[in-house]
């Protein structure tokens, strides 16, 4: 049973995995000390992967995230306990979803409010990783919930880390 994304144990695990992922990323790619953007990207990437892996694939978004990033770096050690993500299905379903959505749009343009809601859920789907895979709005909202909590934990950890490093940097300067 994974810890809920709100607890501190989740954050601990996240940090652990994040540093691990960072290590892996830096081993795989050359560490560009000068290229801030690349470093930022690796940091973000590793954080995302860590976040997803903490969830251990229990949620769709975590699987989708890992699937998305699995191509971007060559992971020598595959994270354990992770159910295989379906990248192929992902693309197919996206296409099917688009067709279905288009047809739906033609039929159900009577209710303006429902259309608005549909538009907004489409936006949400784009935001949440793996959102396109979910047909069901209920599951989408569930995933969103989980994703939001994980994001919050991630932001929290990163913020603390940034603050600590700021303090250390200030100490160094002093």
């Amino acid at each position: 049973m994974r810890p809920p994304p709100n607890s501190s144990s989740f954050k601990r695990e996240f940090l652990k995995k994040w540093l691990l992922a960072l290590q892996l990323c830096n081993h795989n790619n050359n560490i560009n000390k000068n290229d801030v953007v690349k470093r930022k990207n690796t940091i973000k990437l590793s954080a995302e992967i860590a976040m997803a892996s903490v969830r251990n694939g229990a949620t769709c978004w975590s699987r989708a995230l890992i699937a998305k990033h699995s191509s971007s770096f060559h992971v020598t050690t595959k994270p354990r306990h992770m159910p295989p993500p379906p990248p192929r299905h992902y693309k197919k379903r996206v296409r099917c979803k688009k067709i279905i959505k288009r047809s739906r749009r033609c039929c159900h343009n009577r209710s303006a409010a429902a259309a608005v809601v549909r538009r907004k859920t489409a936006v949400l789907r784009k935001l949440v990783p793996g959102g396109e895979l979910m047909d069901d709005e209920a599951s989408l909202i569930r995933e969103t919930l989980d994703y939001v909590m994980s994001l919050r934990a991630q932001v929290d950890v990163m913020r603390r880390l940034a603050r600590a490093s700021d303090c250390v940097a200030m100490c160094n300067i002093v």
Binding site: I141, L145, Y147, A162, V168, M170
Partner: protein
């Protein structure tokens, strides 16, 4: 004399226009300007409309705070205008009352610059965002409004004006109906008041705030044949301003646009004369505007109703098939709540049509929807089993939406799927942006630090798994050892860095707090974070000579990192 004064006012107004356009928030300047608001610069007022729509909302808060002070200063500012011509003064007095809306200047029976009317008109030209805020605080944006041409200042001495002034003086505590009377409400005004459910919807908060729009509407109808259309238009905008709640800026912008348009039409009418004889023409021009306004208001009302529908959607656990009918039910609700004397036509039609749809569908799906009061299927809805499944789905969704409401900050009050989804989307986007920003920030951290961290971490990953015990006791040490660090640190600092004593203490404190917070988080965790904490902690150690008990194995690399870290 009046001409001179008006010209002077104009000049001053022009001077202040720029300031005021920039500086809505300064209530003091507003009041002084109001006081001087002569023949306004129509173009400036109109040009202010687009720029100010966004500002107005922001300014409102400031203006609210400044209301009392402004009203006081306004009272003072009316001294000079008292000297002015009667005709204008009487009108302006009325305007004072109207604009204040709070009746603070009820006592002002004379004076008040011509500009007041023009300012009000100008306010109209501004669109109703700013005027509403202004009105609320009893401040009129003087420069806002230059729609009134200079000719107004030269109104012939008209007994009607004095009559109106007398009526104005009896205007009390924001009763717009009295205020409306002297200006004479034309059909246009009636149309304005009728102009759609939007207005009516706006009346809701307005009524709540103590202003009687119903009576205004009545007064508007009654006063159809009196006064200037300019006054009417201004009053229309006035009460629309009053009515305006903190609704979507979109609606207000549309309204302001229509108002501006109407103002444009009114302008030439006003320029001709203020006499009753010209009312017909004014009314005619206003009629066009009114119809325009009505159309817009109708659209706006539809939007407003839609938004209301949306808002109420989340309240009940309804389903998409029921949603359309739900909307119709809520539209009916809205119609009943919102409908005041005028303006029923646009909303009622929508009610009827949606109601019809709702009713048709409900017969088909009544059996399984018995326990839900509001749910009705849309016309041509799918079979019952589908509806059941849909309903279950919707229940789930709404339940989760409630969770999300708790999760997303500031969403407790918000109900309605669309709005909730909006909030969720915004929140997710903001969190993602935060992640980006923080990762960028971390990327710019001292590379040496990073490097050491990574190197140490790599080492620790490889080694510390076999030696967890070393790091684990370390982390609890951190918070505990932090207090003892202080005195030793301070001693050290005084010895070594006398100049930076304070800084380093503060720094140490901050670092310590950060680390303790993090370490508390990771207190029971395994090696990796512990070792990372160790590393950071040891950086602090570098300033303090106190040795942690079991950091021996780390002092080596820590010293190395210290060497590297120091420039």
């Amino acid at each position: 004399m009046e001409i001179d004064i008006s010209e002077k006012d104009k000049l001053e107004l022009e001077k202040r226009n720029v300031d005021n356009s920039m500086n809505y928030q300064s209530a003091g300047s507003l009041t002084s300007d109001w006081h001087f608001a002569g023949a306004n610069i129509a173009n400036s007022a109109l040009s202010l409309v687009p720029s100010h729509d966004g500002q107005m909302n922001a300014c409102r808060g400031d203006l609210v705070g400044a209301a009392s002070s402004s009203s006081a200063s306004m009272g003072e500012s009316f001294g000079p205008p008292v000297m002015w011509d009667h005709q204008t003064s009487s009108q302006n007095t009325g305007f004072c009352d109207i604009s204040l809306g709070t009746g603070t200047l009820v006592g002002m029976t004379t004076g008040g610059p011509v500009s007041m009317r023009s300012s009000i008109d100008g306010a109209l030209g501004m669109g109703w965002n700013p005027p509403s805020s202004v009105l609320r605080n009893g401040i009129f944006l003087p420069n806002a409004h230059g729609i009134l041409p200079p000719s107004l200042s030269q109104f012939p001495a008209d007994p009607a004006f004095i009559e109106r002034a007398a009526r104005f003086s009896c205007f009390n505590s924001g009763n717009i109906s009295d205020m409306a009377h002297p200006f004479g409400m034309s059909e246009a005004m009636g149309n304005y008041s009728r102009g759609g459910g939007m207005m009516q919807g706006l009346q809701e908060p307005f009524v709540g705030s103590g202003l009687k729009l119903l009576s205004v509407g009545q007064a508007q109808k009654n006063m159809m044949h009196e006064g200037d259309c300019s006054g009417e238009a201004s009053i229309a905008s006035l009460h629309m301003d009053h009515v305006k709640p903190e609704d979507s800026p979109l609606k207000s912008e549309r309204k302001s646009e229509s108002l501006v348009r109407s103002q444009d039409e009114v302008k030439p009418g006003m320029g001709r004369s203020g006499n009753d004889s010209d009312e017909a023409e004014f009314c005619g021009s206003d009629q066009d505007d009114a119809t325009m306004l009505e159309a817009n208001a109708g659209k706006l009302s539809a939007n407003g109703l839609n938004s209301k529908k949306r808002k109420r959607n989340g309240q009940d656990t309804e389903h998409s098939p029921g949603k359309g009918s739900q909307l119709s039910a809520e539209v009916n609700k809205d119609g009943s709540e919102v409908q005041h004397k005028g303006g029923k036509s646009p909303t009622s039609t929508t009610n009827k049509t949606s109601g019809k749809n709702g009713k048709h569908g409900s017969k088909a799906s009544d059996p399984e929807k018995e326990e839900y009061i509001h749910v009705r299927a849309r016309r041509g809805q799918a079979t019952n089993s589908h509806s059941l499944a849909e309903r279950v789905r919707r229940e789930k969704i709404s339940e989760r939406m409630k969770f999300l409401q708790d999760l997303v900050p500031g969403c407790s009050k918000v109900t309605g799927k669309a709005v909730m989804l909006d909030e969720i989307i915004n929140y997710v986007q903001s969190l993602q942006r935060q992640v980006e920003f923080l990762s960028m920030k971390l990327a710019t951290v001292n590379p040496r630090m990073d490097f050491n961290l990574e190197g140490l971490l790599a080492k620790d990953i490889l080694t510390s798994r076999t030696v967890p015990s070393a790091s684990l006791p370390f982390s609890p040490d951190l918070p505990m050892s932090y207090p003892p660090l202080h005195p030793s640190q301070s001693g050290l600092v005084t010895a070594g860095f006398p100049a930076m004593e304070n800084h380093s203490d503060i720094l140490r404190r901050t670092i310590g707090s950060q680390l303790t917070s993090i370490s508390r988080e990771f207190k029971e965790s395994a090696q990796l974070p512990g070792s990372w904490n160790d590393e950071l902690h040891n950086v602090i150690q570098m300033y303090a000579s106190s040795d942690p008990q079991d950091s021996q194995e780390i002092t080596g690399p820590i010293e190395a990192s210290n060497m590297k870290a120091e420039p």
